[in-house]
Structure formats: C-alpha cells, structure tokens
Symmetry: C2
Amino acid sequence: MRRVFSTQAIQNAIEKSLPDFQKIAGSSGVRTQESVRRQFARDESHFVAPPPAVVLEPTNVEQVSQLLKLCNDRNIPVVPFGTGTGLEGGSMSILGGVCLSTQQVVGEPTLREQDFVCSVKPSTTRIALNDSIKHSGLFFPVDPGADASVCGMVATSASGTNAIRYGTMKENVVNLEVVLADGTVIDTKGKGRCPRKSSAGFNFTELFVGSEGTLGVITQATVKVHPRPQFLSAAVSSFSSVHQAASTVVEALQWSIPVARIELLDDVQIKACNAYSGLTLREAPTLFIEFHGSSEKEVADQTTAVEEICKSHEALDFDSGASPDKMAILWKARHNAYYAALSMRTGARGFTTDVCVPISKLADVISETRADLDEHGIHGTVVGHVGDGNFHVILPTIEEDKSEHRKIQSFSDRLVRRALAADGTCTGEHGIGLGKRKYLREELGENTVRLMHTVKKALDPRNIMNPGKVLPEL
Amino acid sequence: MRRVFSTQAIQNAIEKSLPDFQKIAGSSGVRTQESVRRQFARDESHFVAPPPAVVLEPTNVEQVSQLLKLCNDRNIPVVPFGTGTGLEGGSMSILGGVCLSTQQVVGEPTLREQDFVCSVKPSTTRIALNDSIKHSGLFFPVDPGADASVCGMVATSASGTNAIRYGTMKENVVNLEVVLADGTVIDTKGKGRCPRKSSAGFNFTELFVGSEGTLGVITQATVKVHPRPQFLSAAVSSFSSVHQAASTVVEALQWSIPVARIELLDDVQIKACNAYSGLTLREAPTLFIEFHGSSEKEVADQTTAVEEICKSHEALDFDSGASPDKMAILWKARHNAYYAALSMRTGARGFTTDVCVPISKLADVISETRADLDEHGIHGTVVGHVGDGNFHVILPTIEEDKSEHRKIQSFSDRLVRRALAADGTCTGEHGIGLGKRKYLREELGENTVRLMHTVKKALDPRNIMNPGKVLPEL
C-alpha cells in the first residue's frame, strides 16, 4: 500500500522541525523565504507546482544524513534538487515538503589521473569538472547540453551528444556515495574503490543511476574520465528528407565507424538555429558529425567513410572543412537548439519529448513523427542523438493555452506509443519524473513495475524520497 | 533474520514434491539418479559439496516459473546451474536441495542484425552464440575462456580477455528475462525492447548481472553484438620482470591506444603453456597483445605505438609478425593457461584468485604477489587481463593435502587484503560465490552489505534462491 500524504500534516511537521533542521544545517542552510522557495519550485520542464515549504541546503554528507533521518522519522517527504535543469519535473516538490538542495555540498573534484577516474561532490557541474581536470589532458565526456550537476546527471541517467562513442552516465559511473531514506550512508562499491571492473556483490551503482531521487540522495560520484582526443574534425551534411538523414546514420553504425557525435536537426530546427545563433546553414534536415582520433589520418579516414555513406543517401552537401572555431560555433548552436526552438515563439516554454528506438526503426519513426507534426499543424523541431536511436521533438508552447497543451499532449502520446510499438522506450535520457509515469507500465510490464515498488518499499519504507515520481501507482 | 534451513526438512519436502515436479517438467526433467546428481555437484573450483537432492531440467520459462513457485511455497532452496564452469562454487547445492539446471531451456538465438543485439536462451553458450551469428559479420566479444552459458555469464558478471575494448557482461547486456523466487516472470527493460539507451525506471538489468542466482533465474538474455573487426594483428613481448610488463600496460592505457586484448603471463605460466600447448616462447613475463581496426594502417599504427612503449620499458623482444594461424595458437594457449597450469602437477585441481586493482597500483600489486609466492614456496602462475587491472594466480593444489590448502588460503587472504588496500576488489570477474563472502564486508562496508540483505529479502523473502552464497551473514 502506498502511504497517502496529507499536505497539511506535512506542513505542520515541517514547521515543528525548523529548529531541528537549523541545528543540523545552520540557519543559513534552512531557507523559508518565498523568493528562495520559488527558485526551487520548477525545473526546465513545462510542469507547474507550488514551491516547497522549505529549502534545505546542507553542506556535507553528514548533514544530508541527519536531515534525511529526521525527515524519515517525521514522515516528511524530501525532494532532492540539483541544478534544476531537469526536463520531466523530477525535482519539483509536488507535495510541498522539503526541497533538499545539494548545491552547497561542496568539495574540489579529486582526480586519479592514472586511473582515469574523478570523484565529485554534488556542487560540481559537468563544465566545472572539465575545467578542473583540463590540465591533465583528460575529459568527462557525458554532455547533455545543460551545465547540470554531475550527481544530478547520475540521478537522471543523463547522456547527450557523444554517448554514441563514450557511453551514457550508466557506463561512466564507477562508484557512488548515497544517503538512503533513513540517513544510512553507503558507498555502492566500497569507500574509495575504483577498479575498472568488479563482480563483488549486487550492482547498486547502476540501481541508483536513473533512480531520480526516489531511492536516496547521491552525495558523491566517482566517474570515468577519458583521454582528450588528440585529433578532432567535424562535418555537416544536409539531406532532402529526415528519412535519408536517419538512414545515413544507421549505415554509418553498421560500418562501425567510431563517430564521436552524430546529431540530426530537421529543417525547422536548422531554421531556428540560423536565427538564434546567426548561422547560414541550408534549411534542410542536417547531420552534425564529429570525429575523434589519435592521428590526423585516422580522423580523415573516418570522414571519408562517412562522406561516402552520406553521398550514397543523396546528401545535398557535405562540408568537412570545419576549423576548430567553426566546430565550436556549430556545437554551441547544437547545444542551444532547445533555446533556439523556444525563441521562435515569444513567451513560450518548452515541452520536450525523448523517445529512443532500436536503430533499425529510427528512420521510419522519425519520418512518421515529422509527418504527424505537419499533419496536425503543430509547431515543433526534431533534434536528436540519432546514433543512439534517441531523438527529441521540442515544442514551444504558450503556458496558458490549454487547448494547445491538449493537442501537444496527444501528439506526445502518439509519439510514445509509436516508440513503444517499435520496441523502444518513452525516455532515452530525460528520465520519467512526473510526465512519463503513465507510460511505464506499458513499457516495462506490470511485473517489472511491481518489482520497482518492491525495491522502493524495501529502501524507502515510508515513501519519503521524492514521492509521486517515477513509479506509477499500483 | 536469516531463515535457517534444516537439511532433513528440505529432503522431506523434496521427496514429497517429486510428483509435482514431474507434473511440471515431465519425468525426464526430474532427475534423482546419483550419477546425474553427482554431475551437478561441483563446478570448476576447489570447493566440495554433497550432490543436490534432485536435478530439475525445465525446458521453458513457464516450467521454470512453476517450479520456482512450488519451491517457494514449500521452502525448498533452489540453486541455478548453467554449464558448471564457475570458479567460486556459486552453483553448488551446499544444502542439498534442488539444483535447477537451465541447460534444457533451449531456443535458437534471435539476432536483430541492424540493432546489434541477439537474444539467447540459457542453453546457448558463448561459442554457440558466435557460431549462430557468424554469417552476419557480427560477434559477441565477452570471452572468459570457458565455453560458458551466456545467461550464466550474466549471473556471474563475467568478462575476460577483451573486456578492455568491448566491456564486461555489465556493459553488454541490454535486457533480461528473469524468473523471481515466487515464479513471477519479468523483463527488466520490457518484453522485446532493445533501445541503445533508456532512462525509464530502475536499472534492474544491472541488478541481476552478477547476482549469481541469489535474486532469480535468468531465462533469456539480450546482449550486444559487435561488428567483427576487419583487420586484426597480434604481438608478443617479453620482459625481465612482471613490474616492467605491467608498467607497459599502464602506459599503453594512458596513451589511450585502443588495444583489443592485453594479457600478462608470468614466466612460470609461459613455461606451463610451452609444455601444454607445444610453444617455444621465451620463459619470461610476457604480454600477449591483440589489435583490432578498420584498416591495415590503423592496426599497424597501434602496433608501432605499443612497440615503442614496450621498448621504453626494456622489453626483451617484440614479435608482431604473427600470422592468423599463429595468433590462433597463441590465444588458444592463453585460453588453456588454466589447464596448462594445472597440468604442471599430476592430480591437481585449481585454486584461482581474481583480484582487480586500479591501474595505477597494478605493477606494484603484481610484483608483491609474485614475491609472496616465491617467498612462501607456493607453486602458482600469474596470468591476467592486466588492461583492466585484473589478474589471476592459478594455484594447482592436491585436494587431499590439508596443510597445503591452509598455506594457499593464507596466500589468497594476503592477496585480497593487498588488493583491498589498493582500492581494488576481491573479484574482478569470477564472482563471490562461496569463497569470497568473507571479504565482502571489508570491501563494500557494513552498510552496503546490509543493503544487499534488504534487497535480497525484498526479492526473495523466504531465502530460497541460492542460499548461503554471495551475501555474508549479518
């Protein structure tokens, strides 16, 4: 049985607990001002919720542990909050309750250069991590676009543009320090350990990757870092149809060309990027491709191989003369694609889809999706990490327009059903949060959903960790 | 509280259940003959246990489900058994009870060529899988040496010689069908799904990888398959000391040369291989290296780069002129290293260690280990997947010699403590089984061990799944 929370009871319990929170986190770590609470009320999704009753800002793992223990003892729901860059409402305090911001849990990244790992606290974002290890010639590859907290990226099972070569968070996390609902602190692989592989005990690291704050709070992540590629180059190629562009990607994978990134932007998205980032790209479905290698020859060979495949799919052009500066501009444009899409409509917020399908189905699913948008007159751009079979439709919407919301929601439902029918998933990298719970039963099956509840109940018997997220109702 | 089994009660419950087992699995699927039971009494480790009371051989997932439900209802412990190639006693029926052999759960591998995945039933071994997909130009890379069941390799979190390039089982499993203790059948990622990535729900796939039959029975595994490399070459290089050989590997990794395999065999092991496989290698610490690439030039570049590193570490020689035939002989010798080591002592069985340490500690830990062997006059060979920081000491022992066993056990304890002190693990790829349970608390910490019990109790409340394995006593 799920415990049902009364928001009034939560509010009362929190008010009574404020002095105890202050004893643990200091008065600066317990923030009740409305302006602060409002800052922690939303992420970057279209979801709306009331602000949390209080924002707690612990500064170390001991404080996180004591705060969770207290909340658990008093049945107070806790919603972990990183940088607030989530896209599925996962860090919203939908029941009021405690927002536990991890951004003051600070500490310098600890690089073990020879072992290709680095340990970070929740305050460290991916760009900060990369800045801190730049001198070593190593880098952290997972790149979802937003400058998210690395620990938050663990919680979401984030990935992004170069997962195709370097893997998603799941493949790049080595060890996690996690505070469980009752305040117990664990190290999933044992404190300080970082062997490249292990068969010792249950794989708890991966259980917490993608758990979205429902099983515990991640207070340290040890992640893999990789040698920065010695040689890079990029190419841009445009096509008459998204189907041709997607088919090109499928063939490049089948030839096992180790591209580092291969991103599709459809004509509408390119138009938006041109306007937003001051580019002059041909307004057609386009692939942005990046090559990494240890020699100029290696990179050139990859480029030639991909060029041939592009041409065999009737590419309109293939521009591989990108200088490092031009490459930086292109990738910045790609990263800003979301904001570019939004900027096409004044006052719009983004509704973003995130399906991922097996590669063999990609070209068809993307084509059908583009046709669906056009048929229903929906304003949206298609952009995605097509090398993984993952793509997004960014839908700039006017928050107050209820009928538009319904139209978009219907489109999103159709898209998810199309992905599920193609043996895919409703979310490749954004997580379930609030918005995707309704699809999880259809995707995973009743028994797997029940097993999720079994595990959730075992780890968090009072259901205080981010209640109402991820798990569908039983 | 752990439930304590009475072996007499188990025996009685099984005897009463035989007709019901037969109703489910047919009379040919319920085997009580002593000769059969003896076949399922041991794996390839040095552990000894009585044979199981009965061997059940279901032929499909429905039968597995019904059998487990029955055993769960009647408190009968169940030990899943694959090909019996384990090295830690994980599939031994230490309480008598039911041995559930999965080898009759048959079915052709289902290849989804364009999606680079293949689904296999428990009867399929890794060689059978590779034979069945040979025509496609794809291959399944995880190669622990033994021709193990792929589903068994999932349960053990196996890896082997080319994990350095292609990953271990954890990185190569996409979806699992698992029968839980109460007979519930789940698909960890949803039935038939194989997107390259997903953030949908808890990562149960990885929870079952390495669970060694303590959380459920794996009845189907969907694994990644990879394009067979177009060009291969190999090199053999020997050194005056294991320290120099290991340092070479560390440097090759730091230069991020994408070697496909890099294996260390110490002088004693080379001697054994020469005798067993009819080779004439220099009897010194030696690296076997394999290069994969998409062009001859790429492979040649890798070879040259590694040759330079070998020479800078004072390699005694570097032979990269290996023809495909010679390569096959070398790798066969590497695969047979275990049997070669055993053959050095008549009537010996193998005791094998399996530590894995961070790369930065590898050279020191291997050197200390070789010195420890020599100091205590212990007959053993060092061989390992040094690119992962993982190495084995193979110790041919005479089963009846108790004092030798104690000596070897002390050596193994010292080795594990050395690995743990170096932030490593007691097992890189063999699993915990029986033999490593005593180290798990020290490795993972009390809280993580308690969490293992919490999860075990949630998934298998009656503790029928492989009791006495993996989890240390609370």
